[in-house]
Amino acid sequence: MKHRARGVLDILVLLGLAGYAVPFFWQLLTSFKPEAELLRLPPLLPTQLTLDHYRVVFERSLVPRALVNSVGIATLTTLLALVLGIPASYAIARLPVPGKSILLLAIVGSTAFPQIATVSPLYLILRELGLRDTWTALVLAHTSFALPLTIWLLAGFIRELPPVLEEAAQVDGASPARMFTSIILPLLAPGLASTTLLTFLFSWNEFLFAYTFTATEASRTVPVALALFPGVYEVPWGDIAAASMLVSLPPVLIVLGLQRHFIRGLLAGAIRDSWESD
């Protein structure tokens, strides 16, 4: 009896959550609705489904080019943050650097910097360097939040590894570089994966910098292309819906496909550093 009540409750909670996701599914449905049925409600469901909106987005909008920009900028940002962040996080987690706790506090603190405060100086700096409307500008701007996040998360993951292995390798005379690549890196793989995905996701989704430092399709990313989606006489709701789905596809796949890793990665920084006692 109790089991059955539990089963009913389980279903109710799931239904509630399905209701929560309705805004997403509604947009998905809208992206397949024929133009003529968009502004007619009810019926809720369309009489037929069409790919017209996707065709328009692919053939007559800036979204395809913006997708290329976004993939490139998010990938380069993530790589740069890893290249600089992996050594730094190892030093913070394992080596006796003077003033380490203050340093970590400053790094964590810089993840809280509001973009609206740094957007004007960065704009002037990037313009001075002649980088306006380039991938480089956005990779640098995104690194300003991706790098501290990477260091913070990775330092937490490294601290979690047992130091015994490294000590043993040291006794065996392995060089620090060799010890890092053959012992730490393999153990760090799951943490590295979630860190990589999080920085990619944040760079992909970022809007304020991308909107301000770009001017043309040479560097506009997908959130910008979506925000500026043109309508000639009226708002093209169906095309916008199709573009929204395309823009959300990578982040949604990342988050759902690697849900388990991903939740752990998200928690790693947030929880450990605030309630662990070191």
């Binding site: 805004p23 509001p114 849900q259």
Partner: protein
């Protein structure tokens, strides 16, 4: 200090140097530069650069538009964080009791969290459509003009923001719930504690720490929020959804007043840092962070 300690210290600094240099250039330098900018009258299109000290701040002190934006920011932050925390904790409790389909439940929640805020804004713009929007149709065919009515626009923006960010609170709270040992609940049952008593005296106190942390992160984010209102309402109608970030952005890049806009940015900066400090101190005093 032994030679070996000295060596690993040197290694540490070497490994940190590139990252710290980059961070110095990309965060510390702009952080200081914006303070300097905010003390200038600076309009690049006319080539104007002039030091005016605290002139912008003095002006802002008596600028009704600034105070209205500050009020909107405060209202937006308090209401959305409050709603998120209450709903988020309730949902985390429901999901903990879930026997089957918990993974699916999280997938449905994370969908909202994964998307760019710009997409959320577009989603809700369509849902709020006066005649063809799903929300009005479900409300028995009302024709509420959600984004055009000064009384409804801010609640509409808040609703979209809550939808997007509440899953974060659920994930944190749920993860904490999983770490509570079941023995505690068994012991409470043996002692004859009812469900409500268990919730009040065991579960909620154990959750308070993570809820504070979640609220901290969400407050910081809400104070900095920009994308959702910029795309959904652009600060309108009649500036009713104009937060400090929107006012700063419009001043910077629409009125092209780089000095004045920077001053508003600096104020947001100060607010965010003050909140970060307040919460950390609170956590510290409770013995949670030490």
């Amino acid at each position: 200090m032994t030679a070996r300690e000295r060596r690993s210290r040197r290694h540490g600094l070497l490994l940190l140097a590139p990252a710290l240099t980059m961070l110095g250039l990309l965060t510390a330098y702009p952080g200081l530069y914006v303070l300097w900018l905010s003390l200038q009258h600076r309009v690049p299109v006319f080539g104007i650069t002039e030091f005016i000290g605290f002139g912008h701040y003095v002006f802002l002190g008596q600028d009704p538009r600034f105070w209205s934006a500050a009020r909107t920011t405060g209202l937006f932050t308090v209401v959305s964080v409050l709603v998120e925390v209450v709903l988020g904790v309730l949902l985390a409790l429901a999901l903990r009791a879930q026997r089957r389909g918990r993974g699916l439940g999280f997938s449905l929640l994370l969908l909202a969290w994964a998307m760019p805020a710009v997409v959320t804004a577009k989603l809700f713009e369509w849902l709020y459509h006066p005649s063809a929007g799903l929300i009005n149709v479900l409300l028995a065919h009302r024709t509420l003009n959600w984004l055009g009515d000064p009384g409804l626009a801010l609640p509409a923006v808040i609703m979209a923001d809550v939808w997007r960010t509440m899953p974060f609170v659920v994930i944190l709270a749920h993860a904490r719930l999983l770490t509570i040992p079941t023995e505690i609940y068994e012991a409470a049952q043996v002692d004859g504690a009812g469900r409500l008593a268990t919730l009040r005296h065991i579960t909620l106190p154990l959750l308070s720490q993570i809820v504070l942390i979640a609220a901290l992160f969400r407050t910081l984010d809400a104070l900095r929020a920009f994308d959702i209102m910029y795309v959904l309402t652009g600060g309108g109608p009649a500036n009713t959804t104009e937060t400090l970030t929107i006012y700063a952005y419009r001043s910077l890049f629409q009125m092209l007043q780089l000095g004045f806009g920077s001053a508003i940015g600096v104020i947001v900066f100060g607010l965010v840092m003050a909140v970060a400090w307040m919460y950390l101190r609170l956590l510290w005093r409770e013995g949670l962070a030490a």
